[in-house]
């Protein structure tokens, strides 16, 4: 096996860095998607809600 070529006689061209079918790309996405699939922590939902409320009250203030 030679590190310059994909192992196992794969015909995936090595120069194609992000071929969606190769093992590295698949594993990279699997890890990333595992984190993405976690529920958004409450602290962020609370924060966004507060920011929305702050913006809404600013707008009300500006309209007066």
């Amino acid at each position: 096996m030679n590190s310059k070529k994909p192992a196992g006689g794969s015909n995936i061209p090595y120069s194609d860095d992000m071929d969606p079918n190769n093992a590295i790309s698949q594993q990279l996405r699997a890890i990333y998607q595992e984190i993405e699939s976690e529920a958004i922590p409450d602290r962020f939902l609370d924060l966004l809600e507060k920011l929305d409320a702050a913006e809404a009250s600013q707008k009300r203030g500006a309209d007066k």
Binding site: P6, I24, Q27, I31, I35, E36, I40, F44, L47, L51
Partner: protein, 173 residues
């Protein structure tokens, strides 16, 4: 902004070596983005804009605080559960370690392009560098991962025979 949060968190986890710090970074990014929402051009990519803010914030904190606060293993490795029954779980763990072992610029590049779904052009913009630089970092990252995983898969010190078989199988596709 809500829609971009899961991906933003995943990116933060890849930069920061501690999941609590990663979420702090995301929180600071939300606040910063809110503070300068006037500078966001409607119709441009909000996800790329948020990633840029997060990345800049991360590197300015790094310059200020140094690296001693980081854990040895990356947040990606530390924060994720392993499901042994899941096909390929062992080689995923090896993969995470290999990913954590990459130089920062390479890890960032391969994650932005290979996992976050950005084009080379967008990734270059987020990292404020040339497209060619991103391409070469991604390519070096891939070479390094290949090399590391091959060594781990073929070495005598692998966790067990099953994981070696799994690692090898992953490269046979």
């Amino acid at each position: 902004m809500l829609a971009a949060l899961p991906s933003l968190r995943a990116f933060a986890m890849s930069l920061v070596r501690n999941s609590h710090n990663a979420d702090d970074l995301v929180q600071d990014t939300i606040l910063k983005a809110w503070g300068k929402q006037d500078s966001f051009e409607v119709g441009t990519n909000i996800k790329a804009w948020l990633f840029t803010i997060l990345r800049n914030d991360f590197y300015s904190k790094m310059r200020k605080n140094g690296r001693e606060v980081e854990d040895k293993d990356g947040a990606m490795t530390a924060s994720l559960s392993v499901h042994p029954e899941q096909y390929g779980a062992m080689d995923l763990l090896d993969f995470r370690k290999a990913l954590d072992g990459l130089p920062e610029d390479q890890r960032e590049a391969i994650i932005l392009v290979g996992a976050s779904g950005f084009s080379y052009e967008e990734a270059a913009e987020i990292c404020s560098c040339a497209i060619g630089t991103i391409k070469s970092r991604v390519s070096r990252a891939r070479n390094n991962l290949h090399e590391t995983l091959k060594i781990e898969g073929e070495g005598e010190f692998g966790p067990d025979k099953n994981s070696i078989a799994t690692t090898s199988r992953a490269f046979m596709h």
